[in-house]
């Protein structure tokens, strides 16, 4: 399908990404949404990004070796500020400032690593994110379609844009050969 949305809206202040098996990611991140909701009801405060990502990580460990395929990034905003964790089907859970997953991730890392600065503005970050995905889809046979962009803010996420990759590549063509 051309315009699959690989960002799963867990709740208004948590996002999860999808790579690997779509069914596995959708199911486990939806289950994570349920657990986060229960946490909020039982403890009367929102779950932290660290705890939410650990819940997902432990779900993966429960089925380790059985063939699940999940490469996901859990992104949110809690008391400690913005949070980003990478979680995969082996039970790997890493905190970081920037990640890229999926089969085109190498191409995206190349673009984002060279453009990333600690003091980037929001607009520069939007542009860098788009470029990373666009270049990855250009070179990776298994990537394509649209760029779905979300911005995680203190009071929740906003959907920034949904741009067709072929239009983006045309715009960037100036800088390419």
């Amino acid at each position: 399908s051309n315009d699959v949305n690989k960002v799963i809206e867990i709740n208004p202040y948590l996002l999860g990404t999808m790579s690997g098996s779509a069914a596995d990611c959708q199911y486990w991140e939806r289950l994570l949404a349920k657990e986060c909701r229960l946490y909020r009801l039982r403890n009367n405060h929102r779950i932290s990004v660290a705890a939410a990502s650990k819940l997902l990580c432990n779900m993966m460990l429960g089925y380790k070796g059985m063939g699940l395929s999940v490469g996901s990034m859990v992104c949110g905003w809690d008391k400690e500020g913005p949070g980003l964790y990478y979680v995969d089907e082996n039970g790997t859970r890493l905190s970081g400032r920037m990640f890229s997953t999926g089969c085109g991730n190498g191409y995206a890392y190349g673009v984002v690593d060279s453009g990333y600065r600690e003091d980037m503005t929001v607009e520069e970050a939007y542009e860098l994110g788009c470029r990373g995905i666009a270049h990855a889809t250009h070179r990776d046979a298994y990537s394509g379609g649209v760029v779905n962009m979300y911005h995680m803010q203190e009071d929740g996420w906003i959907k920034v844009c949904k741009e067709d990759v072929s239009q983006l590549i045309h715009r960037y063509k100036e800088g390419m050969f």
């Binding site: 399908s1 051309n2 699959v4 949305n5 098996s21 779509a22 069914a23 596995d24 990611c25 959708q26 199911y27 939806r30 059985m66 063939g67």
Partner: protein
């Protein structure tokens, strides 16, 4: 000396699955939805039946199309019917299309390690009365679409729909909204094309048109060869 064939050890394992062919298609319009399927049931080089439609009516506003392994299609539709009844008894209301889609996702995933070999597409009206299409993979991943083709001739139908409904790969064309009459004609045309080239698709086409008045069914003949 005569040459003898040596292939080595060969294992003839029992397969719990069979491929029974069939194609399904769903289109969502402004205030209608269409679910269409061919009616041929095949296995290998044989045809089991020329009158086995793959659309199943779930509620007044929802129809599901299932293709793949017919045994799993039957069981899955029975399970969905039972779950619809249970929901009706517990909640005193009919399940909405979106709710059925979300439920089907979990039913399919419950068999993650021995999947239902079924390609599902749900077509119906959402709570606002707009057309909705939900397409699934065999293990439960799903998303809402405007149009989707599934089953054996899906690779032939989907590009045509992308072009005619999604206006993809065309420049300078006006994006006119899809009327019900045009959608029905398009569905008939794409199935006629699919029946020409796909051996598993043919015999007849069953179209279910869902509007707020209810579901209407139309059957038109296709190539029988």
């Amino acid at each position: 000396m005569k040459d003898y064939h040596y292939t080595g050890a060969v294992e003839n394992r029992f397969s719990p699955y069979a491929f029974n062919g069939g194609t399904v298609l769903a289109v969502a319009g402004e205030d209608f939805a269409i679910v269409a399927s061919d009616t041929r049931l095949s296995e290998g080089y044989s045809i089991h039946s020329r009158d086995s439609p793959k659309c199943y009516k779930l509620t007044d506003t929802t129809v599901i199309g299932c293709s793949g392994f017919h045994g799993d299609c039957l069981t899955l539709t029975k399970i969905i019917d039972a779950r619809l009844k249970m929901y009706k008894h517990s909640n005193n209301k009919t399940m909405t299309s979106g709710a059925i889609a979300a439920m089907l996702s979990t039913i399919l995933y419950s068999r993650r390690f021995f999947p239902y070999y079924v390609y599902n597409i749900i077509g119906g009206l959402d709570e606002e009365g707009k057309g909705a299409v939900y397409s699934f993979d065999p293990v439960g991943s799903y998303q809402r679409d405007t149009y989707k083709a599934g089953g054996s001739a899906s690779a032939m139908l989907q590009p045509l729909l992308d072009n005619q409904i999604g206006f993809k790969n065309m420049e300078g064309v006006q994006h006119v909204p899809l009327t019900r009459e045009k959608a029905v004609q398009l569905v008939k045309d794409v199935f006629i094309s699919a029946a020409e080239r796909d051996v598993y698709t043919g015999d007849a086409l069953r179209i279910c048109i869902i509007t707020k008045e209810g579901t209407k069914e139309e059957t038109i003949p296709l190539r029988k060869d």
